[in-house]
């Protein structure tokens, strides 16, 4: 077992426009990327429960050439609106760090 934060080079979050939240997981080497991809642990159900978003609104892309996983879902509150806590959306990555990968 390993934590995602030990396997990935970068784990980051950022807006894609003011209405959408994205998360990127980038790997230095193919072995770690494939281990995480094949573990099945990055799925819409896990993201839904970590972030409190509807499962059907979670998009996940596996980019083999870039050794990267992309996750996207709608922000609960758009950037800068009432109730917003993170205008750039750059500090929403923490729940991913301790995902356990076999």
């Amino acid at each position: 077992m390993a934590y995602l934060s030990n396997l990935a080079r970068l784990i980051r979050s950022k807006n894609a426009g003011p209405f959408n939240q994205t998360l990127d997981i980038l790997f230095e080497d193919e072995a770690n990327y494939l281990r995480v991809k094949d573990s099945g642990m990055i799925n819409s159900s896990v993201i839904s429960s970590l972030y409190g978003v509807l499962e059907e609104n979670v998009l996940i892309f596996f980019c083999d050439v870039a050794l990267a996983i992309k996750i996207a879902f709608p922000r609960k509150v758009s950037a800068g609106d009432i109730g917003n806590t993170d205008v750039f959306g750059a500090q929403q990555h923490a729940p991913l760090l301790n995902i356990e990968i076999k």
């Binding site: 970590l50 609104n57 800068g80």
Partner: protein, 450 residues
């Protein structure tokens, strides 16, 4: 071969002048720089404020103006002034014409305005020409009427029109980040796949290279491929970073939508030619009916805030219930003093150390020794917001709680005055597109001899 040049990620972020000089020696067909971003939030569009200071913007613009005119190649600025509003275009034009005068230079400067009035957008809505994007609901009339500013993000066609009319410097209102860089290569007959893909990567300046600093980037388009080439000899582009770049700030990393088509990178290959440069092959551009993105902001009122912290373990243990009580008592007092119901203003708390950054989603289970509290009031007028925050602040400081020892005051304030007037605040209110028959239609054009 056609060479594209991007000065830096946003005009005003800066770039070494040596990078520009090196790039000029490789004969770029144009110089470009994106000037805008939604990232810092809606207030920049709402208040007509630029993201970078005038001085920083002028420094970057002056280098580019002199370089472009010396080489007789077009210089294109996109989304002027940060949001691409009409005010932003005029602001950048003032800076550019000042530079021309100071340097005793003359140029034909084109201005392309991208702001829309409500009537135009309403007419498009009635014609059924507006669709929503991503997870947003359909656009309604109320949102159009309430907008303070509305822009359409132009594609490359308006820029190409101005170049054909002899413009040497083109200052665009809101434009897609890529159109600034795609306009000239497409005009020169380059294949759209590599042009749009290269534009998507270099519009962030040198962000796909490292070491990571604000710097320029070039892309050389040759047939169906392109080469990423950082002009700064200290920088390298690695193939995996070039491949990862289309992930950045996009919902879908394989297909990126532009006004007249979709950039499809799903079958691209990325090869390291040498230590510093990457060649990209296989970029496709799939045409689609023409659409331009609508962006808009509406006012949500006026904000006042108060910042403070507590170090009392007893208070921190019961903080949720305590703040609920402060809120309820404030609401009662506001009704009494101002006659205002709680529905016409908002009062909320951010608790740093507990859930200030992620809200309920990332709530920590650990109880910290200290908590930072930001109290936020938004109301119809600045005066009302100031009055409400004053009432709330006094209650935050003095409200008693069970077992309280620190009855001289619950909160440590870092500043005097404790209450901070933050001005008018906005929200982004549109994430939609207009389907167009004519890519030039929504925009207004002026050419000035300077």
């Amino acid at each position: 071969m056609v060479t594209m040049y991007a000065a830096t990620g946003i005009l005003g972020y800066g770039f070494p002048k040596e990078s520009l000089e090196t790039s000029l020696s490789k004969n770029p067909s144009f110089l470009g720089c994106d000037c805008g971003s939604c990232d810092p939030g809606p207030n920049y569009m709402g208040m007509g404020k630029a993201i970078c200071s005038r001085q920083a913007t002028k420094r970057d613009a002056a280098l580019l103006v002199k370089a472009a005119l010396s080489k007789n190649i077009p210089l294109i600025f996109g989304s002027a002034g940060g949001s691409g509003s009409d005010e932003g275009v005029n602001w950048l034009f003032e800076i550019v014409s000042g530079i021309l005068e100071e340097e005793c230079l003359h140029a034909k400067v084109a201005l392309i305005y991208a702001e829309q009035n409500a009537e135009y957008v309403l007419s498009k809505l009635k014609e059924g020409k507006i669709s929503s994007l991503d997870w947003n609901p359909e656009l309604d009339e109320r949102t159009i009427i309430n907008a303070r500013h509305i822009t359409c993000a132009m594609g490359p066609e308006p820029i190409q029109k101005m170049i054909k009319e002899g413009a040497q410097i083109i200052i665009c209102g809101r434009a897609t980040d890529t159109s600034v860089y795609a306009a000239v290569p497409l005009l020169l007959g380059c294949q759209p796949g590599p042009v749009w893909h290269a534009a998507k990567i270099i519009e962030c300046g040198a962000a796909c290279s490292f070491p990571k600093t604000h710097d320029s980037m070039m892309a050389h388009i040759d047939g169906d491929s392109f080469i990423l080439d950082p002009p700064n000899p200290q920088k390298k582009v690695k193939r995996v970073n070039a491949a990862a770049h289309t992930l950045y700030e996009n919902v879908n990393p394989f297909q990126i939508t532009e006004p007249d088509g979709i950039i499809d990178v799903s079958e691209c290959t990325y090869e390291q030619i040498d230590e510093r440069r990457v060649i990209v092959k296989g970029s496709k551009f799939i045409p689609k009916p023409y659409s331009v993105k609508l962006e808009a902001v509406e006012s949500i009122g006026f904000r006042s805030i108060c910042i403070g912290g507590t170090r009392d373990p007893g208070l921190i243990q019961i903080l949720d219930a305590f703040l609920q009580k402060v809120k309820k008592t404030t609401q009662d007092r506001v009704l009494d003093i101002l006659g205002l119901e709680q529905s016409v203003y908002s009062l909320s708390f951010l608790r740093y150390g507990i859930d200030g950054v992620m809200g309920k989603t990332g709530r920590s289970t650990l109880i910290p020794d200290e908590v930072g509290i930001v109290m936020d009031v938004i109301a119809d007028s600045q005066e009302t917001a100031n009055t409400i925050i004053g009432i709330a602040r006094s209650l935050l400081l003095h409200t008693d709680f069970e077992g309280r020892k620190c009855n001289a005051g619950n909160i440590a304030f870092p500043f005097s005055p404790t209450d901070i007037q933050a001005g008018e605040v906005f929200r982004f209110s549109m994430n939609h597109v207009i389907w167009l028959d004519d890519p030039l239609e929504p925009f207004r054009y002026e050419i000035k001899e300077c």
